[in-house]
């Protein structure tokens, strides 16, 4: 989408004029409730196109809830209710006419624990293109699988065992398989919910390298408990606390000169 048009479209809403890039996702007064519990309170945030945005904050602060609002995974929780607007490319994803399946094809997701399907490596990746009708032929499908694996940096490791069970890979490989699975349908946005919390430092480093490569082509939103990780991989960071978005800005700014006392306390380890 044309950048200028997008900017003008969003003039109606208050956007930080210092934003460097076009806005991919923006939340406007987003509230989420789990039954009676008000889990997310009046969140307004803009996520720029391309690059990595990190959500940090103590447990239960609502960062994962907000992440799951972006591809409407919260719909699967019966007690969860979301109000407000979330715009992707300036289109409200909570509008009634939107097909949530197509939304999730555009907004991929990687979960905390690597969860490959109990099928072969090939089938793990081929599944989504197949149900979305992205491959016209068998060779097409194979190409998608190989490309996705290459982008996820996994191809060299698994090229000889594409038809072995995906669950037989190591934890780090499984998580990269999940990333390959997510990018197999060419999404615009990849949501990552603590993707490295179940991995060892070496596997974590490998994933972080991968994110570094992917951020040129995708908008990545990552929820993480590790502030070092947020500092390493993200360009922008948002700090959540008790369901509210406390502060958002460039990663450098958040970590070096936070405006809010709570951010300061969290970063220095006094809360959380």
């Amino acid at each position: 989408m044309d950048m200028a048009v997008q900017r003008t479209l969003q003039d109606a809403t208050s956007i930080d004029p210092s934003l460097p890039k076009a806005i991919k996702v923006s939340g406007r007064d987003v509230n989420a409730y789990y039954g009676e519990k008000h889990a997310l309170k009046h969140v307004n945030v803009d996520i720029p196109d391309k690059g990595v945005m990190a959500f940090i904050g103590p447990s239960g602060c609502g960062k994962s809830t907000f992440l799951r609002c972006i591809n409407r995974m919260n719909d699967t929780i019966p007690s969860c209710r979301v109000t407000g607007k979330i715009l992707i490319d300036n289109q409200d994803i909570y509008r009634p006419s939107l097909d949530v399946v197509q939304l999730r094809a555009r907004v991929g997701m990687v979960f905390q624990k690597p969860k490959p399907f109990p099928k072969s490596v090939f089938e793990n990746i081929a599944y989504a293109p197949r149900i979305h009708g992205l491959a016209r032929s068998k060779t097409d499908l194979e190409e998608i699988v190989v490309t996705s694996l290459k982008r996820a940096g996994l191809f060299e490791e698994v090229k000889d065992r594409l038809h072995d069970p995906g669950t037989g890979l190591s934890g780090g490989q499984q998580q990269r398989l999940c990333i390959a699975r997510a990018i197999s349908v060419a999404p615009d946005i990849i949501l990552m919910d603590e993707p490295c919390s179940a991995l060892d430092p070496i596997a974590t480093a490998r994933i972080e390298e991968l994110m570094e490569e992917l951020r040129n082509s995708y908008t990545i939103v990552i929820v993480t408990h590790s502030m070092q990780q947020a500092a390493r991989v993200s360009q922008r960071t948002a700090f959540f606390h008790l369901g509210t978005l406390v502060e958002e800005g460039s990663t450098e700014m958040i970590f070096n000169s936070p405006k809010d006392q709570r951010t300061q306390d969290y970063i220095t380890g006094r809360i959380g």
Binding site: N71, V101, A105, K113, K115, Y127, T167, C178, A182, S184
Partner: protein
């Protein structure tokens, strides 16, 4: 004073492993653990003993059902027994009774008298001639020739040959015996006192009877009841008679049916003794003697059937015939294929479980094709799609309740709905299958829901995350993973249905049905009902059939449960 001293000193005590209290606690814990282990082992042992006893009993009683004895005899097929065309109808319609009778008489020559002849022919089953008929239908050229055919023995004869008759002892005689005749009443004189043992035995039995009656009379007298005065007098007089016979000097004694049977095997014949002294005997020839010649010591024997004739199902005459056939080598002992190839019958030796097997297969088929799709889809809908509201909650509770409803209630429901309202056929496997489907459905739904619930939600979430719709996620990912569990639940449900009797009684599957059913609406019965029917019959022959059918049913159950375990192992996937 600092704040530190304000803490109570005893707030947290350390464990002192050397203290006697701690050691006692350890000992108590060990004792509790070993006690628990002992309870477990005891429970296991008791269960094992029960299972082993039950199985052993069933197998001991049931295995004879898989064996059948028959007489292999030369059967002459006279040409004049059949019409001139020798068509299939003629061969099927011919009277085979004289043919088998003549074959029997030819095997044991010299049988005279209608009674003996009738006893001889009754050794054979009423279906004994079937094998001849089948053979002639297949090959009419056999008419006019002599064929060797296995003739099915009657249930009583078969049971005797399986050892359910009497013990036989035989003693070689020492004297020279002179029989007076070859058939009819025969009198023996022996040069030694060969019958002395038997004679003493009779005296002993008489003394015992006299004592029993006296004791009984005394007991009744002590009870002081006046209404039994007649009975006491009768017992006393009987006792006196027996005592008088016992006390009498060496006279002739009579044998009766309550005493072991005494027989004399002499000159190729067999005589049943009815009166004897210690050197002579009088009796009826059961098997004719070949001559009335003197028999030298050692060539003749005194045979005793230890079980008195009155307390066994088979007469001395029949025993004599069967023993003779056994000596001639005419008795053949085979696997009882008929048990699996024939339908029910009033004659134990002709009855088989084919009808029940086919009925069971048809009934379970109907049950399966109804239950599996309905049960699985109901479970998938309830577990994955149904809105969680009061209505679905009520449905869930009711499904769980249905699983606990006594099966006879389902039978009554089937009677009211399928038979009376829809007017379906009584006793039909279709109706049986419908009723059992009602019975099994809750089990399958519950098992399927449990299997679906056991699939980790992350699998569904991952599928949703790559843009699968809810339905795609369920059918592509959740259902395949739940399938082994669903299959296991289904097989266990079907095994439950296989053993179910009560609801089928209600819809008339208890009828006596000889024909093997050929369609879903034919009258049929099933294995457990067949067991129930046979267990009720007075004939001893059916007891073995009952146990044999139980063995077949248990085999089915073992195979089905084995299949359930195999499926679970085979398709179980880890994630």
């Amino acid at each position: 004073m600092t704040d530190v001293t304000a803490f109570p000193r005893t707030s947290i005590r350390r464990i002192d492993p050397t203290s006697s209290a701690a050691q006692a606690r350890v000992r108590r814990r060990y004792r509790a653990e070993s006690r628990f282990r002992a309870y477990g082992i005891a429970a296991l042992l008791i269960t094992t003993v029960f299972v082993v006893v039950v199985l052993a009993d069933i197998f001991v009683k049931g295995l004879p059902a898989f064996i059948q004895h028959s007489l292999v005899l030369d059967v002459a097929i006279p040409a004049d027994a059949f019409g001139p065309q020798r068509s299939v109808e003629e061969i099927k319609g011919a009277d085979y009774f004289p043919i088998t009778r003549d074959a029997l008489k030819a095997a044991i020559p010299g049988i005279e008298g209608r009674t003996a002849e009738r006893t001889l022919t009754r050794l054979l089953s009423t279906g004994a001639a079937d094998v001849i008929r089948d053979r002639l239908v297949a090959n009419p050229a056999l008419i006019g020739t002599t064929i060797k055919a296995p003739l099915l023995l009657s249930s009583g004869a078969d049971l005797y040959l399986k050892g359910l008759g009497t013990k036989i002892t035989s003693q070689v005689a020492r004297g020279i015996a002179t029989p007076s005749a070859q058939t009819g009443e025969v009198t023996f004189l022996t040069s030694a006192n060969d019958f002395a043992d038997a004679y003493v035995g009779i005296k002993r039995i008489l003394a015992k009877r006299a004592k029993e009656r006296r004791d009984e009379a005394d007991r009744l007298e002590r009870s002081g009841s006046t209404t039994v005065a007649d009975r006491i007098a009768q017992l006393r007089s009987e006792a006196d008679q027996f005592q008088a016979r016992h006390d009498a000097p060496k006279g002739e004694e009579e044998l009766d049916a309550d005493m072991p049977s005494l027989l004399v095997a002499i000159d190729g014949g067999l005589v049943k003794v009815s009166k004897l002294t210690d050197v002579s005997a009088v009796g009826e020839a059961l098997l004719p003697l070949s001559s009335a010649a003197e028999a030298a010591p050692g060539t003749w024997r005194i045979v005793t059937y230890l079980t008195p004739e009155s307390s066994r199902k088979i007469t001395d005459q029949e025993v004599a015939f069967l023993e003779r056939f056994r000596e001639l080598g005419d008795v053949s002992r085979d696997f009882n294929w008929r048990f699996f190839s024939a339908g029910d019958s009033r004659e134990p030796e002709l009855a088989g479980i084919r009808g029940a097997l086919v009925g069971t297969a048809m009934t379970l088929f109907v049950t399966l094709i109804l239950c599996l799709p309905i049960g699985v889809f109901a479970a998938v809908y309830l577990e994955e799609f149904a809105p969680k509201n009061r209505l679905t909650q009520i449905i869930e509770v009711n499904i769980n309740n249905l699983a606990a409803v006594p099966s006879i209630v389902f039978g009554l429901l089937g009677l009211a709905v399928f038979l009376n309202f829809f007017n379906l056929h009584r006793s039909a496997p279709l109706v049986g299958g419908l009723v059992l489907a009602l019975l099994v459905l809750p089990t399958i739904i519950i098992a399927s829901r449990a299997a679906l619930k056991a699939v980790p939600p992350s699998i569904k979430e991952a599928a949703l995350g790559v843009g699968a719709s809810h339905q795609q996620a369920v059918f592509h990912h959740v259902l395949p993973l739940a399938l082994p569990g669903i299959m296991t639940g289904t097989i266990i449900g079907m095994a439950h249905a296989l053993g179910e009797t009560a609801p089928l009684l209600m819809i008339g599957m208890i009828a006596f049905i000889v024909d093997v059913p050929t369609g879903l609406t034919d009258a049929a019965t099933v294995l457990p009902v067949q067991i129930y029917l046979w267990s009720d019959l007075p004939e001893v022959g059916f007891q073995a059939k009952t146990a044999g059918t139980i063995i077949v049913l248990l085999m089915f159950l073992f195979v089905m449960n084995g299949a359930a375990i195999w499926l679970r192992r085979r398709f179980e996937r880890r994630w």
